[in-house]
């Protein structure tokens, strides 16, 4: 312990801080202030701070408050405690329908999408002629993916008299209305999600480019076949990328809104089979005018995604391999 208080800046503070890294940082800051550049960085950061607090932090806190109220958007919010949350879990069958649809959607579409993305990335990681064109072609669906137009096309393709049934007709199979039958409708959404595998594919491709050639050469000399090389070298080395894509796609999957809204015409039907969570949240807030309830739904979604992410990070310790 030293009591090396120097100037007036620290004079008012008690008890005296221990000297060490913290004290040194302090001195650096004071030095910076003396040089006259102390507040400039904050001026340049101001727009970001305004955005962070005005558009993210404040609305989040506001929505947390609203989640404990009965708020219809039009008249002032009324505090009702945890009622929104208890109602959700005990007395709202549509909530459970939406949870079911969303979990099914995420748990089926994400693994399929990642497997397809990795497979195509490996195929596209070759010195082929015109490889750029192929890569662009495979990425294209993702560029269009979020667009309402594609979801509308999807409705036409998988409708009762749509292209997909025409295609099945070539093989003598009589199709059905895939969109408006409760057993298949969510799978058309899953298919749409899997089809848009471009983003994880590009990330996989970038990862594959970084894998060391020499390891493969050594393996080839030892007589390792294609499959062995994939499972013993490529996949283990790529686990950080797989992990990253997994987190990203799960978060994305939970938030999916546009395709469900468009394909089901905003109804989430038939029988709530395409009532993805975000769609239900939107309907509650803007159609049924239950914004307090919608805010509560948003916070439950937030916690669920945070939970999934946390579990992934913990589980990741056992299968993700890093260099450092």
């Amino acid at each position: 312990m030293t009591t090396a208080k120097t100037d007036e800046a620290a004079a008012g503070e008690a008890p005296a801080p221990p000297a060490g890294p913290r004290e040194r940082a302090r001195q650096r800051r004071r030095a910076a202030r003396r040089r006259g550049g102390g507040w400039w960085p904050y001026v340049f950061l101001a727009p970001w701070f305004v955005g962070l607090f005005g558009l993210t932090v404040y609305p989040m806190l506001d929505s947390l408050y609203l989640s404990f109220t009965d708020f219809d958007l039009l008249t002032p919010a009324k505090w009702i405690g945890a009622q929104n949350y208890t109602h959700m879990f005990s007395n709202d069958p549509v909530f459970w329908d939406s949870v079911h649809a969303t979990l099914l959607y995420v748990l089926v579409s994400v693994p399929l999408k990642l497997a397809l993305a990795l497979g195509v990335a490996i195929l596209l990681n070759r010195p082929l002629k015109g490889i750029g064109v192929y890569r662009a072609a495979f990425y294209l669906p993702s560029l269009l993916g979020g667009a309402v137009a594609i979801a509308i096309v999807w409705r036409q393709v998988f409708g009762g008299d749509g292209l997909f049934n025409d295609f099945l007709g070539w093989f003598g199979i009589k199709g059905q209305d895939w969109i408006s039958s409760p057993d298949t409708s969510v799978y058309t959404l899953i298919l749409l999600a899997v089809w848009q595998f471009g983003t994880p594919m590009v990330i996989f491709l970038a990862g594959l480019k970084q894998l060391p050639e020499d390891v493969y050469e050594a393996a080839a000399i030892d007589g390792a076949g294609t499959l062995t090389r994939f499972f013993r070298i490529t996949l283990p080395l790529l686990t950080p990328i797989v992990f990253f894509n997994l987190i990203l796609q799960i978060v994305d999957g939970f938030k999916t809104f546009t395709p469900a809204y468009v394909v089901s015409n905003g109804t989430g039907g038939p029988l709530n089979s395409t009532m993805l969570y975000s769609l239900y949240l939107y309907k509650k807030g803007f159609t049924d005018l239950q914004m307090g309830y919608a805010s509560a739904l948003a916070w439950v979604l937030f916690l669920v995604i945070a939970g999934f992410t946390a579990v992934n990070f913990v589980a990741g310790r056992y299968w993700v391999h890093y260099d450092d």
């Binding site: 708020f71 039009l74 009762g160 408006s180 409760p182 978060v251 905003g266 803007f286 919608a294 937030f302």
Partner: protein, 443 residues
């Protein structure tokens, strides 16, 4: 080697951002407050409808502005989808329109929340409602005050593909027909078409044009007078669902996939896609202009042939014009309402695009210029409103639907679908329906 990806480089850059960025929008979608109308000099007016209706509104408004050069209007219009979602957001954001087209089914909800301006102080002064019947004005009246000027008579009728019926050698049923007659002709359509066309679209989940009338025939309104309960019994709904289950079994009505596809999508309506000849969805014609090429005709919703049945039909207000309370231009908005209610130019421009005109005077003004289908539509509306006003055993017109009504209508639709898809028995779905409806109306 150092070729591998390190934890730091990967996560420092992306993961935190991705999670935060991803969740932000979901959570921040929910801020709000209440606010007032626009204030940039011109009066904003919104409506929903078909292209024909948009054109007619704009033409009429141009004439209005010519006569009232001090009032400038700024118009916004769209389809029905999302119209009220947008309106809600605008109110919350303080940019609601001054004058808007309002849905009869929703006027009570907005009036009671204090969004709409009461119009009583203008009536007889700048708002001339001569010729509007009391029952019609009831559509815009909530708790004794007038909040909307009805644009036309709304009646509950079926739209019929007349061409298709003639092709099968079948005759249009009599206007005094029963639910059993409907079943008979729908079955015949199926038979005569060689099993290619169903008769009538599935009405088991339809509310306004359909089940509500069936229940009223038994003296049971859809909602109780105070709006806190359902007005009909489980027996009534059971009988209704059993009727439609039988219709589906006989292929008189289409399977649920077709019904479900048409939910919120008029272009997939069974009559529009040629899969049925009768539909309860008035939108096929009523939104102003037909969306199919076939010749259409109209019939009142059938009457009950069950014991104790009485007149279940009623007349409502079609669409309405309402002013928002926060607007600073209510007086100007009222002038425009008056113009659409009484001015010959506006009446002729709008024709049937906002429903059958509400006054005798307006109807005679346009009747000469109507096409064949429009004339049939108007004649049937005339017939129904006369029959309803003559009926001695009819219930009074329904009370304005309570808060949560649209959730209950949706619940009815989904319940019928669950039965039709075979996911639930009628008995099981009945108790679920009543449980949930009760919880919606109580909350």
């Amino acid at each position: 080697m150092g070729h591998q990806i390190s934890r730091r480089t990967l996560f420092r850059t992306v993961s935190g951002l991705a999670v935060a960025g991803a969740l932000g929008p979901a959570l921040t979608a929910c801020a709000g407050g209440t606010g007032a109308g626009s204030d940039n000099g011109s009066l904003t007016m919104t409506w929903w409808g078909s292209d024909e209706r948009h054109a007619a509104y704009k033409k009429a408004l141009a004439a209005f502005e010519k006569n009232n050069p001090k009032i400038k209007t700024e118009t916004r219009y769209s389809g029905y989808d999302g119209y009220f979602d947008k309106f809600n957001t605008q109110i919350a954001g303080g940019s609601a329109p001054d004058l808007l087209q309002m849905d009869t089914a929703l006027v009570a909800q907005y009036a009671r929340k204090g969004i709409l301006a009461p119009l009583d102080s203008y009536v007889g002064k700048s708002l001339d409602l001569t010729g509007f019947s009391k029952t019609l004005l009831a559509a815009g009246t909530v708790d004794g005050k007038l909040y909307g000027v009805p644009s036309g008579i709304g009646v509950n009728q079926l739209t019929v593909n007349r061409t298709g019926l003639e092709k099968l050698g079948l005759k249009l049923p009599d206007r005094e027909w029963t639910w059993n007659d409907l079943k008979k002709i729908a079955t015949e359509v199926r038979k005569k078409s060689g099993g290619t066309i169903y008769g009538v679209d599935d009405g088991g989940g339809s509310t306004l044009q359909c089940f509500e009338i069936f229940a009223r025939e038994k003296g049971q309104p859809f909602f109780s007078d105070d709006g806190r309960k359902l007005g009909f019994t489980a027996d009534t709904l059971q009988e209704w669902w059993e009727f439609w289950a039988a219709m589906r079994k006989d292929d008189a009505s289409p399977p649920p996939a077709i019904t479900s596809a048409a939910h919120n999508d008029l272009t997939k309506n069974a009559v529009v896609i040629g899969k049925a000849l009768f539909t309860f969805d008035s939108g096929v014609y009523g939104a102003g202009g037909s969306i199919t090429d076939v010749q259409l005709d109209f019939l009142p919703t059938p009457q009950g042939d069950f014991s104790g049945a009485r007149e279940g039909n009623f007349v409502n207000g079609g669409v309405l014009l309402s002013a928002t309370k926060a607007s600073k231009k209510i007086a100007d908005s009222v002038k425009i309402m008056d113009f659409f209610a009484q001015d010959p130019t506006a009446i002729k421009d709008m024709q049937l695009l906002r429903g059958i005109p509400p006054t005798e005077k307006a109807r005679s003004l346009i009747s000469a210029g109507l096409n064949e289908t429009d004339r049939r539509n108007m004649a049937m509306a005339d017939y129904i409103s006369q029959r309803v006003s003559k009926a001695t055993d009819a219930l009074p017109a329904p009370v304005p639907p309570p808060k949560g009504a649209d959730q209950i209508w949706d619940l009815l639709f989904q319940s019928n679908l669950a039965v039709a898809f075979g996911k639930k028995t009628i008995k099981a779905q009945l108790s679920e329906f009543f449980d949930q409806a009760q919880s919606i109306l109580a909350g």
